[in-house]
């Protein structure tokens, strides 16, 4: 999967690229409008991560260009402006998602994954992690072909972990993913613990391994 990251802050690009390359994405970087335009004309990408405010132009114009060329390309807008206007404008013009700075890299990765999933028209694309299989359309989870019942939060949590497998995922990023960023309660970490506990129990009950590891003081890691 090829991703183009358009962002004028070189350090932020580096972070995003490092994280995503670890997930076997191929990342290309553009730090200005001109560069981005050049790359977009010459190459094809599956996903474009687009900053709206660029030193020499507006990301909105790039967005139009991308969608004119190939409507299937997924566009994730990254913006410092958390304004509804920008958001609506971006989404109206065909952007697939919108994320506000500062964001968690795990969240970015999860968004890109779900964006890529939505690109597949047939929807037959299953998310598979060893014996765990997830059908993102019906939101059904099976372990060794046995259907297990998950609550909405447990399902989201599992999906988030699998998207960020082998990565340390902080409690803060999980809390934001599950409850949205308006939640500013320290208590939320206890609920993660509760939901996670339930999820682990259910997975174990159906005979799968416990893939969730607690990284002391940091968060969790979903790995073999």
């Amino acid at each position: 999967m090829k991703i183009l990251i358009v962002e004028d802050e070189i350090e932020l690009i580096e972070s995003m690229a490092t994280y995503l390359e670890n997930e076997d994405f191929i990342c290309e970087k553009a730090t200005n409008f001109f560069d981005a335009e050049d790359k977009l004309i010459s190459f094809n990408y599956d996903v474009v991560i687009l900053d709206i405010t660029l030193p020499d132009g507006s990301g909105i114009d790039l967005l139009k260009m991308i969608k004119d060329k190939d409507a299937k390309v997924g566009v994730l807008i990254v913006s410092a402006k958390d304004s509804l206007d920008d958001k609506l404008k971006g989404l109206d013009l065909g952007a697939d998602d919108y994320i506000t700075k500062p964001f968690h890299l795990a969240e970015l990765n999860s968004r890109i994954n779900s964006l890529l999933r939505r690109q597949k028209f047939d929807g037959s694309d299953m998310i598979v992690f060893n014996e765990i299989e997830i059908d993102p359309n019906s939101k059904e989870v099976t372990i060794d072909k046995k259907l297990i019942e998950l609550t909405k939060k447990e399902y989201n949590l599992l999906l988030y972990f699998i998207a960020n497998k082998n990565k340390v995922v902080t409690k803060e990023s999980i809390a934001e993913h599950l409850w949205g960023d308006e939640i500013e309660m320290a208590d939320s970490f206890d609920f993660i613990y509760t939901h996670l506990g339930n999820l682990r129990k259910k997975i174990k009950k159906y005979g799968a391994n416990d893939y969730v590891k607690t990284m002391y003081g940091l968060g969790y890691k979903f790995s073999e």
Binding site: E9, E11, L12, S15, M16, T18, Y19, N22, A80, K81, D82, S83, L84, D85, T100, K101, P102, F103, H104, L105, A106, K153, K167, V168, T170, E172, S173, W179, G180, D181, E182, I183, E184, M185, A186, D187, S188, D190, F191, T194, H195, Y216, G217, L218, G219
Partner: protein, 426 residues
């Protein structure tokens, strides 16, 4: 004291003084002029008499002339004329004899000691009543007083009238200045006047308020821009730490420190986001009005917070009338409801209670909790928080209040029977 009254009073006092002085001077001049004329007349009469004596014409209505006594001769050895005012007693018998009038009347009297060619010396006295003159002076004095009063009253009347007309724009402008609010974003409207001073004043007020407004806007924009500018460095910081966390060879002390940095960064991000939200609400960037189903919105929010309510074992009581629709901005209402519900949970006690009620005219949220450690008036101010907990920015209620202000809703806080209660009236 009003300026009009102050100046009016000065004019009044000045004109009174002038008129009193004028009256006095007029009185003396008039008296002198009339005395002069009377004296002339008396002299004329005396001349007639002395001529008659000289040519020995009989003085029909007069007594026979008497020569001067020796003492008078001594007193006035030369020919002398003496004028004086004198009172003479009158007893006038009424024609019908019913009433007698007795009075002293004032007379002007001329006494002449004169030597005639025959060598005899005589004293000639002629008199004229001053009564008519006195009447004349009285009338003139009264007229003067009357004119003075009329003039003063007229002056006062016109002065007040024109002053009111002249000052009207001033008072109107004073009123609009009093009602001027920097947050309204409306330029001040001033009534123009053809008085130079007022025009100048208006000009100064206009430029002052414009300056104020632009400074205020700059300040507001500054908050917003500063918050925006902070987003990117914060994003870099956060992403770098998250990458660092992925490395496998960290020891526990390093992890601990990284964790602290990460958490501080998170707090900073949250604070920054909230500040930005507040700035945006204040800058009225949420201006799109639509129909918002408040009943649905609140029900959904409660669902999101379910975990938090359960964890604290809070007893939740809800009375929500279905399909309450408000014409407002959905983002702002969302923020309002989120802030109030999360506050009610966060500042609650274990096994406490929450009561949420929504009707067409108000939204009420009550929760059990400890009494505030700050005064209720400060509750809605920025960075005033009752707890020092790190997860509370102290901006939530400031945002809530601002949203209420913009929507012209009334918000009230009360603490009764261990219950915090906030009511928003639409």
């Amino acid at each position: 004291m009003k300026l009009i009254e102050r100046t009016g009073r000065s004019y009044l006092i000045l004109s009174l003084v002038i008129f009193v002085l004028f009256g006095i001077v007029l009185y003396f001049i008039l008296t002198a002029v009339m005395d002069n004329r009377l004296d002339e007349k008396l002299r004329y009469n005396k001349e007639v008499i002395s001529k008659r004596i000289k040519y020995e014409t009989p003085l029909t209505i007069f007594e026979e002339p008497e020569e001067l006594t020796s003492s008078e001769n001594l007193l006035y050895p030369k020919d002398t004329i003496v004028y004086k005012d004198t009172l003479i007693f009158h007893a006038i018998e009424d024609v019908e004899g019913i009433e007698n009038t007795e009075e002293y009347e004032k007379y002007r009297q001329l006494t002449a000691y004169e030597t005639f060619p025959s060598g005899k010396r005589y004293k000639i006295i002629t008199r004229n009543s001053l009564v008519r003159n006195q009447d004349f002076v009285t009338i003139i004095t009264l007229l003067t007083i009357f004119i003075t009063l009329l003039l003063v009253a007229g002056l006062w009347f016109f002065n007040t009238k024109t002053a009111n007309k002249i000052w009207k724009p001033f008072y109107n402008n004073l009123n609009s200045l009093k009602n001027f609010s920097i947050q309204d974003q409306k330029p001040i409207e001033l009534q123009s006047s053809n008085i130079d001073e007022f025009t100048e004043l208006n000009g100064s007020i206009k430029s002052l308020t414009e300056k104020l407004s632009s400074d205020y806007n700059n300040l507001k924009e500054f908050t917003e821009n500063a918050s925006h500018e902070m987003q990117t460095p914060l994003a870099i910081m956060q992403s770098k730490i998250e990458l660092l966390l992925q490395s496998t060879n960290l020891n526990s002390s390093e992890i601990k420190q990284l964790r602290s940095i990460y958490q501080a960064g998170q707090r900073l991000s949250k604070l920054n986001k909230t500040l930005l939200t507040l700035a945006k609400v204040e800058n009225r960037q949420f201006s799109e009005i639509e129909e918002v189903n408040l009943s649905e919105l609140i029900t959904n929010k409660i669902e999101i917070y379910e975990d938090f309510i359960e964890a604290k074992k809070l007893e939740l009581e809800i009375e929500i009338e279905p399909d309450i629709i408000l014409e407002t901005n959905s983002t702002m209402v969302d923020m309002l409801v989120t802030n109030l519900i999360s506050n009610a949970i966060r500042h609650n006690i274990d096994k406490g209670s929450i009561f949420i009620k929504l009707s067409a005219v108000h939204f009420q949220i009550s929760n059990s909790g400890n009494e505030l450690t700050i005064s209720p008036e400060n509750l809605f101010n920025r960075f005033k928080k009752a707890s020092s907990s790190a997860d509370s920015s102290g901006l939530g209620l400031a945002i809530v209040k601002k949203i209420c202000e913009i929507n012209e809703w009334k918000i009230d806080y009360t603490f009764l029977d261990e219950q915090h209660q906030i009511i928003v009236r639409f």
